[in-house]
Amino acid sequence: MYYYVVVGIALALYVTLTLSLNIITGYGGQPTLGHAAFLGVGAYTAAMLMTRAGVSWWLTFPAAFLTAALLGLVVGGASLRVREDFLAITTMGVGFVVVAVFQYTPWFGGVMGIGGLVPPPGVDKVALLLIATGLAAFTALVSWWLERSWAGIALRALRDDEAAAEAMGADTRRFKLLAFVIGTGLAGLAGPIYAVHLGFVSGPDFGFHFSITLLTMAVFGGLGTIRGAVAGAVILGLAPEVFRFISDYRNLVYGGLLILMMLIRPTGLLGVTSLRLPGLPGRKGGISRAAP
């Protein structure tokens, strides 16, 4: 029983993180290769506040959101200045920097990280599972709201064709920032749960590998849809449990899946065009986008 609860918490965190990444990359079309770093910022915020300032675990949630979103705002600012391919590198770099800062700053516990993080009395693993699931549901709700709002339409439009969106009168810069702030802030919210679930935080845990895992989940499930992000997170989150016997080759399997997906089904398992039956008018990809 305990095993299922622990796996359930991990899955709920994966769903939250993949959904939040989907807001930036799926809706806004902005590649991000350092998403785990924002979880790290949230987790470290919780860990620092709890161990250094004795702040209640509950109160670390808003703080984790704010710190992650603030860093997200900075990275989002970079997205206004660089092209998509450079943004991928930039976000990757931010991920490395965040990990390095945690790892090499004694104030953050250095290589040992911060340990001894326990949930408040009354919050056992089952309660933690409920809280994590609640956060996943909240993230899905935010995504759902975003899809239907003006901001959501504008984000999808700018993902399609930024210059055309600009020509419609949409201030594309504002929406990119919004996507970054909401997406990274939600990832930060997962931090306090992560921190007490594992009991310790350590810089390298939020590194490139984790970020790529999240991106793989989003792409595998289908960028740009809630169902895709959830499916990707659950399936790829469960895979290592189911395929424990190949655990040494997990990276190989992940990488292979990503390549296969790009070749066979670039929109992902449950992506934007997935609910259309073959034969019906679907993805034509024929819209002319001649260079101006």
């Binding site: 003006w150 339409i153 504008a154 999808r156 439009a157 993902r159 399609d160 064709d161 210059a163 055309a164 969106a165 600009e166 020509a167 419609m168 009168g169 949409a170 201030d171 740009g224 934007v272 065009t273 008018p281 679907g282 993805r283 034509k284 990809g285 024929g286 819209i287 002319s288 986008r289 001649a290 101006p292």
Partner: protein, 239 residues
Amino acid sequence: MTTRHLLEVEGLTVHYGKAIAVENVSLAVHEGEWVSLIGANGAGKTTTLRAILGLVRPTAGRIRYRGQEITRLPAHARVELGIGYVPEGRRVFGDLTVEENLLMGAYRIRDRARIRRNLDRVYHLFPRLAERRQQLSRTLSGGEQQMLAIGRALMSEPELLLIDEVSMGLMPIAVSHAFGVIEDLHRQGMTILLVEQNARKALVRASRGYVLETGRIVLSGPASRLQQDPQVQQAYLGM
């Protein structure tokens, strides 16, 4: 004289890197006019339109709208002033439904009732779009996408419509339909600045025209006179 100018472009020069795309172009569009900008591929027509809308930054020159200098305004602010844009190659948002595309066009209007009214107007103008309002726009035919691009531009209630290569990649019947719509809009008072390779179609209903060649204006005048001009006839009308 100046009060009748809706749009004035003065000495516009645009570089892409070191290459010069448009050099010292001056043109004016009066209220209610239909002005066509013709020229061969790469003559700088699209660049001129994009500079007027604010999608490229000119290296020199001034752009005025209703007498107000807009050279440094961002594109979204120019849309708000009343400039609508039908881009080359339609560039509808493929992952958005027809209706969402139209809503994007009304982006600057926050009043729901007005958006509703504009939607009704566009659906009235293009019943095909009304039938397909929930369809992803990438699944539309080229002609339907062109209607959507025009409809989307109309959603912002423009006074001046910039139209880029409306005939590009369309079947002749769709081209005729698109030009028919533009004629109707013009008759109802819309000011139009149209860029087109198909000089015959572009000049037939236009009030005035400009001929661009390698980034410069080489000829301008009433459309009827341009149509009679031997140079234009030879180079652009295939006579």
